[in-house]
Each structure stands twice: as C-alpha cells, then as structure tokens.
C-alpha cells in the first residue's frame, strides 16, 4: 500500500481537475513519439508519423493521447489501491498490446515535461515530486501483470 501525504493527494487531484486532457494528452503522446521514435512501433496504423510536424498534426495521435491520459483517471480516483485499479489494464498492455513496459516510463517523462510547461513556476519541486511519485506508482502497477 502506498502512503500518500495530504499534500500529495491534494496536488494530484488539483493537477488533474485543472487538466486540459485534449491538449496535454496530444502533447505528451506526440512528444513521446518524437523524442523516442522507437515508440512509433506500436502505432503502425496511425498513418503519417514521418516527422515532428506530421506527428504533431496527426489526428489519431491527438485522439489516442486523450484516451491514454484519461486512463490515468483510474489512478486519480483510486489512489489508495492503484495496483488493483490497473490489474486489467496491465493484462491488456501485456497480453493484447505487447507494449514493452519501459515505454510507460518514457511516456511518463514526456507527460511530466508537458505538465511542467503548462504549470510553469507552479510546477515547484514539491509538486514535481508528488507528480513523479504518482506516475511511478501507475507505471509499477501497469508492469505488475507482465510475465
């Protein structure tokens, strides 16, 4: 069981309640595909991913980014048992999508950087620590059912 301080709980609820899922989702996934191009292997049917501009403008990337970001809602709503909340999604990523779990960390890093750009000075070291701890728990839970 992960222990969360009041500050951490409030910070996470706050970030996600103010989140623009469409913008942040698109930005985070696009950035991941651009900065770590090998992640494109999972998106063979997304059409034009040939360069940064194409990726940034790709509507399938935008739509999927939003889906992935909303996937985090499950954790936001179940902070006291993220492991259980993600059991199903973990099986999905392992058995059906065959995603190398290292990619979760890469996407998480891109998401951190996009949220930092959104919040600017509001993304203090304390907020960063809470956000990264949250993402680490999510990533660990998503890895859990791999065998």
């Amino acid at each position: 069981m992960v222990e969360w301080t009041d500050f951490e709980r409030t910070t996470i609820q706050d970030i996600f309640s103010k989140m623009n899922y469409e913008v942040v989702g698109q930005q985070a996934l696009a950035r991941c595909l651009i900065v770590y191009p090998w992640t494109q292997r999972y998106f063979g049917n997304f059409g034009n991913l040939y360069n940064a501009a194409a990726i940034m403008g790709n509507p399938m990337v935008a739509a999927h980014g939003k889906v992935v970001l909303h996937g985090l809602d499950r954790a936001v709503k179940n902070m006291d048992d993220i492991k259980a909340a993600y059991a199903e999604l973990s099986v999905l990523h392992s058995e059906k999508l065959h995603v190398d779990p290292d990619n979760f960390r890469l996407l998480g890093d891109c998401l951190t950087i996009v949220v930092a750009a959104q919040l600017g000075a509001g993304f203090t070291p304390e907020v960063q620590a809470a956000f990264q701890k949250f993402l680490a728990v999510v990533v660990s839970s998503l890895r859990r059912q791999y065998h």
């Binding site: 651009i34 900065v35 930092a116 750009a117 993304f123 070291p125």
Partner: protein
C-alpha cells in the same frame, strides 16, 4: 544516437537563447535533483544547506550549467573536450553515472517550465540526445 547537424544546430540555437539564465536553470535543476531524488543528497553531506534556495545550491547549479554550456561549444568532439571533466567526475567526485540521467531529466523539466514556447518537441529530442552524449563523455574515464 549521435548528434546530426540538425541536432547540433537546434542545441546551439536554443542554448544561445537561454544562456543568460544559466544560474536560474542550473540551480533549479540541481534543487529538483536533490529534492525529488533524495538519494543524490549523499554527494553533498558536506553542505550545510541543501534546500532549493540555498547559496550553495545556487552556486553549484551555476557551475554545472556552465559545464553544460561549454559542452555546447564542443559538440564536434565531446569526448575530447570533456576529458578533464571526466577525470574529475571519475577519480575525484566519483559520482555514480546513473545520476547523470537524473540531472539531465531535471534540466529538461526546468527548460520546459521556463521556456515553454521555445522548448518544442524538436528542440527536446535534440537537447535530450545532446545531454545523453555529454553524460557518455563524462563517464569516459570511469573504467
């Protein structure tokens, strides 16, 4: 994953723009390294004050950032240019090279929050590659 001409140009252009804020960037990145990854504090047990605003963090943040900025001018031969600094890190400081990834991540976070318009995805990938190459060159003399 070596630096293409495009990467070098993107890195140089971006860092020329932000160089004047070296102290802010470096000290914020170092502060976050110490705060978000507390195991890194083990390298600074000789400092009185490890909190974000401390004068030691500020001063050292600038030292680190100046190192990064000097590496921008050495992109055609990072290994050669960073030889002395590599010896320093390997033999004197003996910082576990895993920590280079940590400070690099925090540099990216700080650059993103301070320069959201300029730190585009394309600049991000080139800077990430550059920092990875710097880390590799700094690790050169370790063994």
């Amino acid at each position: 994953m070596s630096l293409s001409a495009k990467d070098k140009l993107a890195v140089k252009t971006f860092f020329d723009k932000v160089a004047s804020k070296a102290e802010d960037i470096g000290s914020e990145a170092l502060a976050r390294t110490l705060f978000v990854y507390p195991q890194t504090k083990t390298y600074f047990s000789h400092w009185a004050d490890l909190s974000p605003g401390s004068p030691q963090v500020k001063k050292h943040g600038l030292t680190v950032m100046n190192g990064v900025l000097s590496a921008v001018g050495m992109m055609d031969d990072l290994k050669g240019g960073l030889l002395t600094l590599s010896e320093l890190h390997a033999f004197m400081l003996r910082i576990d090279p895993a920590n280079f990834k940590i400070i690099n991540h925090n540099l990216l976070v700080v650059l993103s929050l301070m320069f959201p318009e300029d730190f585009t995805a394309e600049v991000h990938v080139s800077v990430d590659k550059f920092l990875a190459q710097v880390s590799l060159s700094l690790s050169e003399k370790y063994r």
